[in-house]
Amino acid sequence: MKVSEIERLTTERPTTANRRSGLRSGTPVGHEKRARRAAIPFVGAALAVVGIVLLAPFVYTIYRSALGNGGSGFVGLDNYVTMFRDPALQRSMINTLMWAVGSLILPVGFGLTIAVMTSAMKLGAAARALVVLPYALAGTVVAIVGNVLLSTAGSLNQALAFLGLTDPESPIQWLLQWPMNVVSVIVFAAWQTTGVNVVLYMVGLQTIPRETVEAAALDGADGWRRFRFVTFPQLKATTAVVIGLTITNALRAFDMIWVLTSGGPNRGSETLALSMYRQSFLMLDPAVGSAIAVVLTIIVVACSWLYLRRQIGQES
């Protein structure tokens, strides 16, 4: 397909060039029409790939969620009813909510704190580099790191026992009990996801006019009040984007949870992203699996609204 696309594009050139000589005599409307037709291969290639590989499956999943398994035909909302009645999936929805709230507090809070505190600091860039680097790691690798730290015989329990904070005989089971396992993974995920928010907030800080901060300093506003009343209000737009991006990414998180806990034990640490995979591919229940995918999509798109609003504003 790609080759034919390129051929079409290359043959497009002489035709347009040839027509160009006759352009002057042609009406402006005819010119417009020809130019519009010339745009078809340019836009069409990307649109075709996205349409076939992403949009069509998306529409099919919505349709599939209204069908039963094994060719049992249209079942209306039955799959959704099954989904909301399944205790494991109820737990999964609670966990998904915990992920959304947790990522709002930790990566956003740490991102803002680190960006603001290091922005005017000597060696601040070095501190930022340490925080940003894990962002380039795969969720799979982050899970392996998390396993070193959080397993019951792991580094975190070693450190706590060494400091005398816990009894070495009864280490804390970070990954084995709900809701502790969900909280542990959310907290450790912040190690990776904070970096991107630091970068976004640094960009936001650069857009604040220097004069306003200097004026506040002259007025005698100290660090905290300067942040509270001058800096933070001007980071409102950035914060909306950061919150929107962080929550939607947290809702979509799959790799790290899958490799660290496989959603277990007893499906206790699953989120909807994992539940969909387990239900569809491991339990071979595409009917409910599709319903989970649709519910997840609705939640993600609703949360995306936080930062989409701005983009839509720019488009119109």
Partner: protein, 274 residues
């Protein structure tokens, strides 16, 4: 004045504590990855006790047959990100520079893919893959990664093109350049920074991707590298922790190096999201 100094002291302390906190996991991975298996007791160590990084790597690499997955991911990341960025720039050119109708509709149709969770595409793609015998081939992952990377690549190149002065295309038109010629010889060099940003971003995304790797492929010859890492971690109980860590460390290097080397571009790509 004293209060100000106290404030700065508090700030510096917080930053140092946070920076150390962030460095600990990386430090532990490096130390444990180079610990000789002989001196590894089954739980993580805090201090180095020898240097066996390459021995551990050899063990892990061999056990997980990493050569094929590693090369696969190089192929997927390079081709997937490369083709996607070219198609995305063509679409951006078509919608920004060329006169087209329904610009907003086309924009949202191409861009919408980036808003949806991957799970909503997975089942139909799996079924289509089985039906077309593309399941568990390199081709299906290349196609899917290209499609996944187009929306954001389109967004970045489009936003960049919007900022270019319209006089450029007017001047090219007067010179009698065709659209294709105009794209290749005038716009392609101009938007190169945006294309590099999008490429770097998507290269790292594909290199680190696991979900489609395990949903659409199953054999070692076709799986991407993170699928092999996940298998090693979840099923390779026979492997010692140092071997797993050494391998995970090395397979992370391509994405980390690309990230460090092109950090400037990466940040540029990221901030177009604002």
């Amino acid at each position: 004045m004293n209060q100000l100094r106290l404030g700065i002291l508090a700030r510096n302390t917080i930053v140092i504590v946070l920076a150390l906190l962030w460095a600990v996991p990386t430090y532990l991975v490096v130390v444990n990855a180079m610990t000789p298996v002989a001196s590894y007791t089954g739980s993580p160590v805090w201090w180095p006790s020898g240097f066996a990084l390459f021995d551990n790597l050899a063990v892990g690499w061999e056990a997980g047959s990493f050569t094929a997955p590693f090369l696969n991911s190089l192929l997927y990341a390079t081709l997937g990100a490369g083709i996607a960025v070219v198609l995305a720039s063509l679409a951006a050119f078509g919608l920004v520079i060329m006169p087209t109708k329904h610009k907003r509709l086309w924009f949202w149709l191409i861009y919408a893919g980036t808003l949806l969770p991957l799970q909503v595409f997975a089942l139909p793609l799996y079924q289509a893959g089985v039906a077309t015998e593309l399941y568990d081939t390199k081709m299906i992952l290349i196609i899917v990664y290209v499609a996944l990377c187009i929306p954001f690549g389109f967004f970045v190149t489009r936003n960049f093109m919007v900022t270019l002065p319209p006089e450029i295309s007017q001047a090219a038109k007067i010179d009698g350049a065709g659209w294709w010629q105009m794209f290749v010889s005038i716009y392609l060099p101009l938007i190169r920074p945006a294309m590099v940003a999008a490429f770097v971003f998507q290269f790292i995304f594909i290199w680190n991707e696991l979900f489609f790797g395990i949903s659409l492929t199953i054999s070692v010859e076709n799986q991407p590298v993170m699928a092999a890492v996940a298998t090693m971690q979840t099923q390779g109980s026979a492997l010692s922790q140092p071997a797993i860590l050494a391998t995970a460390l090395v397979v992370s290097l391509p994405a980390v190096l690309v990230f460090l080397f092109f950090q400037r571009f990466f940040v540029a790509g990221l901030t177009t999201k604002i």
